[in-house]
């Protein structure tokens, strides 16, 4: 047995987040309600610190560590950077929301940081066990966060549903992994990949693939494994929905890439067909069901489902440009989702949840600026130029056509047009209808500033999308 000391340096950011999460857990014990902001500031600085650590040690090639179970490469680092960024924004947006609801507790931040750690492990996984470990760490933290508002029936119901269905999906994934282990004799992703390409693949690997795709689809919220998404989005406190709808999507994308591309690229012709079905169904169900919603969180949940369908279209092209397109889509989606749920947080105030889409009525009269920001977000999600969402869709469509799947591109654009309707409805409510609720928006400097930045960013990155695109391509090619 070779007892070389593992190369810890590769996992420095992960270790830093772990240490900080533990420290915050302890520090929080000694804080009173009045000094709780220390927890908040410590969590934010933990994210900043991790970002500094990741970016300063950024390198082009890929490094393996811990008996090849952990990999650090450029695409992982970029994805991690966006996970820090979106979590940072979630904490920022959520602060006042949590404060007025008596949820401003250390647990939110500690669980959030553990979720971040889980996501980082998922992003850097190079072994089936590491994938699973990261996924469970993330999921368990999320289950608890959904249930954070423990005297709310809806939140408890949502948490229960999320937990049971999540456990089922994890079971599926684990089952698939075990079959894969049985067929290849290894848990290492590159070893599995080598085995599949060199040996004739057996029926059992295809079987394993089915279960793995199911597990991944569940975590993404793709149809027909989407049932939890609307319920959880609606039931969870908005601050938690904001979190679930942002960074974990990046992690789920990373898991998909690690498993399907790094591990099972030999089965591409098989998973391509599966993903086609999943994405077309997601686009159809997501866009059609969103039209019928009256709750903004449910509407955005169905919108998420359709976006995940679009994202999978990029992955199923099977080309590195296609993966880059999917990555660009994921990052764009995360930024838009943050802004959209950020708006829901903004409109909520003491004793009032802005959950109905009617709560957006007449926003232009109450606050022209935030109506404009929300309009940017809605048009961006709808894929109207010149916003970021347009380029994300264009990139994916372009790779679809490149891969010879023009028909799929046409299906995708038809459902996008259907989707435009419910985004337009929000704009209609904000601009064309009279406000029922005339109270001005509560003053909150940092939330206002960050949300404005987020909205303007969506426009600015739509005008100059080149550098983010080039970044996504460079990490895959």
């Amino acid at each position: 047995m070779d007892f070389a000391i593992p190369n810890y340096q590769v996992a420095i950011p992960e270790m830093f987040i772990l240490a900080m999460a533990c420290i915050i857990l302890l520090v929080d014990l000694f804080l009173t309600e009045r000094t709780r902001s220390v927890t908040y500031l410590l969590s934010q600085s933990a994210l900043l610190g991790a970002a500094v650590l990741t970016l300063t040690t950024f390198s082009e090639g890929s490094q393996l560590a811990f008996s090849d179970t952990f990999v650090r490469d450029a695409k992982g680092d970029v994805l991690k950077a966006f996970i820090y960024l979106s979590t940072f924004m979630v904490f920022l947006y959520a602060r006042s929301y949590l404060q007025v609801r008596n949820l401003f507790k250390g647990e939110f931040y500690v669980l959030g940081l553990f979720a971040v750690l889980g996501m980082m492990v998922m992003v850097s996984a190079h072994n089936l066990l590491t994938v699973y470990l990261g996924l469970e760490l993330l999921s368990l933290a999320l289950y608890a966060m959904v249930a954070l508002q423990r005297d709310s029936i809806f939140a408890s119901e949502a948490a229960m549903k999320y937990f049971i269905l999540g456990a089922l999906a994890s079971g599926m994934l684990l089952y698939g992994m075990s079959m894969l282990y049985g067929a290849s004799g290894s848990l290492d992703l590159s070893e599995i990949s080598r085995q599949i390409t060199t040996n004739q693949m057996s029926l059992v690997t295809v079987f394993a693939l089915v279960f793995i795709v199911v597990g991944v689809a569940f975590k993404l919220g793709a149809v027909p494994f989407h049932m939890w998404v609307p319920d959880v989005y609606q039931g969870a406190p908005t601050a938690v929905t904001l979190f679930i709808a942002s960074a974990p999507k990046i992690a789920a994308f990373a898991m998909m890439i690690r498993l399907l591309v790094d591990g099972l690229s030999g089965l591409q012709s098989h998973w391509q067909d599966m993903l086609i079905i999943l994405s077309v169904l997601s686009l159809a169900v997501g866009n059609l069901f969103a039209i019928a919603q009256t709750n903004i969180k449910r509407m955005l949940a169905y919108s998420t489902i359709s976006h995940m369908g679009f994202l999978m279209l990029g992955v199923l092209t099977g080309s590195s440009e296609g993966y880059a397109a999917a990555m660009f889509y994921t990052i764009s989606y995360t930024l838009m989702s943050l802004a959209a749920f950020g708006m829901v947080v903004l409109l909520s105030r003491t004793g009032f949840e802005a959950e109905r889409i009617d709560d957006f009525k007449g926003l232009n009269e109450r606050s022209p600026w935030f109506a404009l920001v929300m309009m940017f977000v809605m048009f961006s999600m709808a894929g109207v130029p010149v916003f970021l969402g347009f380029w994300a869709k264009l990139f994916v469509l372009k790779e679809l056509v490149h891969a010879g799947m023009t028909w799929l591109a046409i299906v995708a654009v038809i459902f996008s047009v259907i989707g435009v309707f419910y985004y337009l409805r929000i704009i209609k409510l904000m601009y064309f209808d009279k406000a029922e609720d005339k109270s001005p928006i509560e003053k909150n400097l940092d939330l206002h500033f960050a949300l404005s930045l987020n909205g303007v960013g969506i426009l600015a990155m739509g005008i100059l999308p080149g550098s983010l695109m080039a970044l996504c391509i460079s990490v895959f090619v």
């Binding site: 109207v384 654009v413 337009l424 064309f432 391509i473």
Partner: protein, 506 residues
């Protein structure tokens, strides 16, 4: 001095940035400031567009005032690339001209959120100029789609009773149309490895490919023109839009669809256009005749003008596609140029006339808040100056010789004769139908006894209104009597286009 300036960029960005400025500074308390700034911006833009006309070398068919290509999105090979030829340049001048009138027309009639109204039109102006000036398809597409946003807001916020229905229908229809074009553009990118429009013109494409691409374009442009049977959004949008919105819709946005045929469909898929010309001519003639008859029975003035617009735009598409029929019939392309130039003259002329007609209705609507023909009668007794203008515009709409409406229609009909007698015959019926619906409306609204007390209280044009209508009247008469400068400018470009579509790409 002007030759060194990046004129097209200035034309695009002056109104957009001006619009942002108005949006930031304006609110309902200082509405006048917003209006003044907006007027200054549109006037500056209009003045900037004049050297475009003056310095344009009309002996050349190539793109002029070219800017770029500057790399915009390097990974996609998308460039910021602008330029105009004899087709797009007059349309840009038409845009800057019309926007000045729109700002003036909204001066008193917009009572709330004036700054946002003005800003929407300024931004829209820049985006529309961008569509005409783009030489890169993605740049074109971005302007083309982004333009819908301000129009959506304008109809939805300042529109009539059913404005929400109308504006969502407008947005979804046009958005639905253009997404297929996007897929076709991406497809061609992989055939020719370029998003430059001029490269696509030279791109070799097979027959089936051309047919499919032609249909993708057709959905986009036919909705915009609009052609029968995808025209149903237009009457709704026109009726509900505020006057300024109607004017821009009719005068410019419809032209974008026709422009798309000239810039994309014809040169990129000439063989498909040739194969499908029968279908296109049929659709155009249905628009001319059937929609003309539909216009006859309208009770609502704006709806009548909207249908009249669809009917007149039928002439434009007829003029484009009759060229192939002429070639099949006579074996030469002589006469095709006449039809195409006629169609382009018709585009410009319709810009003036439909704008004028909608402004006329706007003048009445501001006073009586009704668009019903039946609510009026004998207006001439109270508003003689106004009635004179309205009569002139109505005559122009009916295609009276001496007005711009005659020139384009006459050229197209003449050209259609070369192709097929019946094409020309059917197209010419519009001179009767058009006269019927327009003059009948004028008769009912303006002539006869004063119909009711409301009409009796009408006051004649203010100086502002008089000025707007007078300018349009001059433009209509000018183009009608002396269309030569416009024809000179577009001549070489049209000849070049016809030469281009004469060569098979197979």
């Amino acid at each position: 001095m002007f030759a060194d300036l990046p004129l097209l960029s200035l034309l695009i960005w002056t109104p957009i940035l001006g619009g942002v400025l108005v949006l930031i500074t304006g609110n309902d308390k200082n509405a006048l400031d917003a209006k003044v700034i907006a007027l200054l911006v549109v006037l500056v833009t209009f003045v900037l567009s004049l050297p475009l006309f003056g310095l344009f070398d009309s002996s050349l068919a190539v793109m002029q005032f070219v800017e770029g290509p500057h790399v915009w999105v390097s990974t996609f090979k998308v460039n910021y690339h602008l330029g105009v030829d004899g087709i797009s340049m007059p349309l840009i001048v038409l845009t800057t001209f019309t926007t000045v009138l729109v700002v003036l027309a909204g001066w008193d009639s917009i009572k709330y959120k004036t700054a946002q109204y003005m800003a929407a039109f300024l931004i829209m102006e820049g985006l529309m100029i961008g569509v005409f000036a783009s030489l890169d398809v993605i740049l074109f597409y971005v302007f083309w789609e982004a333009m819908l946003i301000p129009m959506f807001i304008v109809i939805g916020v300042w529109g009539g009773e059913r404005r929400v229905y109308a504006t969502i229908k407008f947005f979804l229809y046009t958005f639905f149309g253009s997404v297929f074009m996007l897929v076709a553009l991406i497809y061609m990118y992989y055939q020719g490895d370029s998003f430059a429009i001029l490269d696509l013109h030279r791109l070799k494409l097979g027959h089936t490919e051309q047919i499919l691409i032609f249909f993708a374009f057709l959905i986009a442009f036919a909705v915009k023109v609009p052609m029968w049977p995808v025209h149903t959004w237009l009457p709704d949008a026109h009726v509900e839009a505020p006057t300024g919105g109607s004017v821009i819709l009719a005068a410019i946005m419809l032209k974008l669809g026709a422009y798309g045929f000239l810039r994309f469909s014809l040169p990129i898929t000439p063989d498909a256009s040739s194969t499908l010309d029968g279908m296109m001519i049929t659709l155009s003639l249905i628009a001319v005749v059937y929609i003309g008859l539909v216009a006859l029975v309208q009770q609502d003035m704006k709806k009548l003008i909207a249908y009249s617009s669809i009917s007149h735009m039928g002439f434009v598409t007829l003029g484009f596609f009759v060229a192939f029929s002429i070639f099949e019939n006579t074996g030469s392309w002589n006469g095709a140029a006449l039809g195409m130039e006629g169609a382009i003259v018709q585009m410009i002329s319709h810009g003036f006339i439909s704008g004028a007609m909608f402004l006329t209705v706007g003048v009445l609507y501001d006073r009586m808040h009704s668009r019903d023909i039946a609510a009026y009668g004998g207006v001439v007794n109270k508003m003689p100056k106004f009635a004179a203008f309205a009569m002139l515009f109505a005559m122009a709409n009916a295609g009276l010789p001496g007005t711009s409406g005659f020139v384009g229609e006459f050229m197209v009909i003449l050209s259609a004769f070369t192709a097929n007698f019946w094409y020309a015959f059917l197209a010419a019926t519009t001179l009767i139908i058009g006269a019927a619906y327009t003059l009948w409306m004028v008769k009912r609204v303006f002539f006869g006894e004063v119909a009711n007390d409301n009409v009796a209280k009408l006051e004649d044009l203010s100086i502002r209104e008089f000025f707007i209508l007078a300018i349009l009247a001059l433009a209509i008469l000018g183009l009608g009597v002396y269309p030569a400068p416009l024809l000179d400018v577009m001549g070489p470009t049209v000849d070049n286009l016809i030469q281009h579509i004469g060569q098979s790409k197979l």
